[in-house]
Symmetry: C2
Subunit: 403 residues, 2 copies
Amino acid sequence: MISERTQKALAGSSAIRAMFVEGREMAEKFGAGNVYDFSLGNPATPAPEALGEAIKALVDESAAMTDGSRELHGYMENAGYREVRAAVAENLNRRFGTVFGFENIIMTVGAAGGLNAIFQAILDPGDEVVVFAPFFGEYREYAANFGAHIVAVQPDYDTFEPDLSDFKLKITGKTKALIVNTPNNPTGVIYKPATMRKIAGILEDKQREFSHDIYLISDEPYRELVYDGNIEDFLTKYYKNTIVGYSFSKSLSMPGERIGYVVVPDEASDAKELIQGIGIANRTLGFVNAPSLIQKAAARCLEEKTDIAFYDENRRVLYEGLTELGFTCIRPEGAFYLWVKSPVRDEEDFVSEGKKRHILMVKGSAFGCPGFVRIAYCVSHETVRNSLPAFAKLAEHYALCRS
Amino acid sequence: MISERTQKALAGSSAIRAMFVEGREMAEKFGAGNVYDFSLGNPATPAPEALGEAIKALVDESAAMTDGSRELHGYMENAGYREVRAAVAENLNRRFGTVFGFENIIMTVGAAGGLNAIFQAILDPGDEVVVFAPFFGEYREYAANFGAHIVAVQPDYDTFEPDLSDFKLKITGKTKALIVNTPNNPTGVIYKPATMRKIAGILEDKQREFSHDIYLISDEPYRELVYDGNIEDFLTKYYKNTIVGYSFSKSLSMPGERIGYVVVPDEASDAKELIQGIGIANRTLGFVNAPSLIQKAAARCLEEKTDIAFYDENRRVLYEGLTELGFTCIRPEGAFYLWVKSPVRDEEDFVSEGKKRHILMVKGSAFGCPGFVRIAYCVSHETVRNSLPAFAKLAEHYALCRS
């Protein structure tokens, strides 16, 4: 008597999440040091010490106040504490030259909760949401939650930026939104400002053509994870109808805490109704509000940064190591993923041969882009270094070599 | 360009939540001491000291461990930490004689998140969920999230237990579930064991009649809030197909933290698929998992209790005070709500006259039961005591008197 949707979900459950369990079971069987689990985007760098300090200070301050725990652990507006939202707004304004007030910020249960709340606010059944392949596979399920569906645009296979001529073709009268995710999961590519301007131009043309708004939803959990002198970008400057979904999961290494926010700029169409609607969605979808203590703790850690150099080192070792072995990799500029071309057409074979050598990678078809695999290098340096001999055996299996 | 659903929601937003903002604005205008805000179920008793201690200890223990913050703030299985789920199972087993293992427990983003995850796992579009009026109004929106809808059973207006002959009529071939909420929001009534046995008997008959499973969903955030020597009940013993949704919001006074759990007993139909399906729903609905630190903190506070005597005092003063003034009140046996008959047919008039005297109450129609109002007495003793002269004026307005 389970629902049809759940029956289908059980049949084809998340490739990534299944690997989470599989990786742990393999680690128990073979020893953690002998399994190279690159399957999940679970940050390897610790949360900043300041996070723990902020949490403890909040508890102590609360204990010293009459009614303190009611404030710290109690209900607030569905959109979050006003002072937390104000702190987020100020932080963004200082970094990106924006002019947000607390009203523009809605605290959410991570970026996943934020995207669902945005979707409820804008999507009607039958609507289409355009995404650039490869893309985070669960966008599909989030859209389905509202009877809408995903339309994928193919990539430029050299740069892994979107193929803009395909993009133009994929926008229809039913298109309500485009999701942009840069730095990108799963490729690590950062879309260039010139590309963003072209995307904005196309959206503006299409808004006119179809006489309705098309929102650009910027899903940016990896905003701060940029390498090689790339600059953190904030997409509201390219296009008026931009809504931002953010998560502290990666930047503060706390994906389990489910804390993020949505930004709706005043210049977005129906901004006021959107802001209210997203707050209502927080409630009616069952989130109610972002977790209270962690809201306040995150607000005190807005200046904290994760250890980018740590990931950069993994990036360098893996990219160079795999390229040296003859694999074709897209050079990542941000996030903590390496996107590798499968040496054989069917990347499931590649994933499966990897697993035999204790290397866990996720198949590209989970991201709407078969023929590739994703390696999440948010793991220890040891795991990266020790995986190279296993990758060498994998290269040997496929008889790859540089010269 | 907001969605039709959101347009409707903006037009008829939650009466309770609107009052949350209104109450705060009135408090700013007239002084908090001069406003009697009985609108929201935001616990007045502080969270137990042990909660803050557990949180701080978890942070300290994590800091002392290699990789500690990854464990404390990181991803885990969508269903939650196994040791947290095991602790919940053991606690229930000891208190209620059940035999749950960790597999039977799924940690959720509060009871609201839990109900939505259960609904996704069992509901198909067009399905019906039976509820006993008066009921928590947002059940309606949770069902609508999955294309299903609520069918309300009328109460016995003397006892505010359900009218069981109406219940029999309301179960159809489309009925997938019944929600039972005892101790009840908004009446404070506890359904007697004899009533629960009758409800179970009716469900069993109807399962046979329609040849499909009907789940009883026990929504029990108020499980521990019982007075007058009433015993905490746990409904899985009455009916095999019972799924429990629980929240720590009221029992540990932390509604802002969004932490609860779902229990699926092995004897429920398709238990294994249900458990998996609810875990998947946690992910695909955007919850991903219950907040990590608070999961662990709650697991350390399972023996903690809120200050029942505090609410009992409010209950006594309000029930006696209002009855004395001539109001007709249902005597509450649990939760922290008083259900009062409107002295005039249109309870919105009653709510509005109350507001003029700075008393905030919620109209019964928000709970599918017009002609009554809900008073949430999870407020300070002062608010309760000081409200009585205002209630006296309200009684005078309606020319009520005892003799």
